[in-house]
Amino acid sequence: MGYLRKIQYNCKQATFLIEKKMIRKLTFREMIELRIHLAGCSVCVLYGKQSRVINQMVQELFRSSIKPEIRLDDNFKKELQERIEAELNNH
């Protein structure tokens, strides 16, 4: 199989590069390889789109976790503050 053919066939490598690109700059060669692949592969283009959306959604999920419904129970908090006060008095 020729070099070009290998790039065009290799969705595993292309999706790997898509993930890498979201974290750091690709090398020139990687960038060219990815472009060649994506030019002929709509499935991986779709993968890239979904992957970016998933990142956004996970980030959103983590940010929205700072909500009032996640709370410690009051007893635990009371004991914790007492423990802190005790430590403060020791010093």
């Binding site: 974290i23 959306v53 959604m57 999920l61």
Partner: protein, 226 residues
């Protein structure tokens, strides 16, 4: 009065040192306290442990629970964070807010948990490599069973959709702890890649395998369940 002016012009520290040299009785404890509160008031944040639980316990708990999904352990971490913070209080420079400072301490404790949990790591990555064959065929083509299809997240905005978030959360929980740790440290906390590799004892090439594999998994899980 001079002290105040000198603080305003940023020369407080020099003045303080000079006074130490010239005056044998300087500084008394009271003067040190005064000096510190001037300094804090002028340019720094203060610590007030009496209000920590009231102000930050829920926030820190939510931060921890999202990252380790274990209520008891998250509680322990919040407690440990406050206690460690008391010990380190003397080192607090007032450059960041109390909350940021406490969160940084908690973050290190969470990394410790990740590290302990990821001892079976080599096996994890081997498994990752192995299972990757399920997603792709030998020549690198998508295995038809896992080929991405449109499933409704491409254009519609699902941010904040409760039902979708519930599925997303389930899919996240299915991931091996190490992958989840690598993924959140990178994509949520935006930690430096080298730091993640060192802290979790992952080689750089395994780091990329995990990042790739995690996303393939998450995506497939969402496509299947949504």
């Amino acid at each position: 009065m001079y002290i105040v002016q000198d603080f305003a012009s940023g020369r407080g520290d020099n003045l303080f040192k000079n006074l130490c040299k010239v005056l044998p009785t300087f500084p008394t404890n009271q003067q040190i306290n005064l000096y510190t509160s001037f300094k804090m008031g002028a340019e720094s944040y203060l610590l007030d442990p009496h209000k920590w639980v009231k102000d930050y316990a829920d926030y820190l708990y939510a931060y921890a629970i999202r990252r380790i999904s274990d209520e008891e352990q998250a509680k322990d971490l919040v407690q440990e964070t406050f206690l460690a913070a008391l010990e380190k209080a003397a080192n607090f420079e007032g450059k960041s807010s109390e909350r940021t400072w406490l969160t940084a301490i908690l973050k290190n404790k969470i990394i410790d948990v990740y590290r302990k949990k990821s001892s079976g790591l080599t096996k994890d990555v081997q498994q990752a490599e192995h299972e990757q064959h399920d997603f792709f065929e030998a020549d690198g083509h998508w295995n038809p069973a896992y080929r991405p299809l449109e499933f409704g997240i491409e254009d519609k905005d699902h941010l904040g959709n409760k039902e979708f978030n519930a599925i997303l959360q389930k899919c996240l929980q299915k991931l091996p702890v190490l992958w989840m740790s690598v993924f959140t440290m990178k994509h949520i906390d935006d930690e430096d890649t080298t730091l993640i590799c060192t802290e979790l004892k992952v080689s750089p090439s395994n780091f990329w395998v995990i990042i790739h594999r995690t996303k393939l998994n998450l995506r497939a899980c969402l496509q299947k369940n949504w």
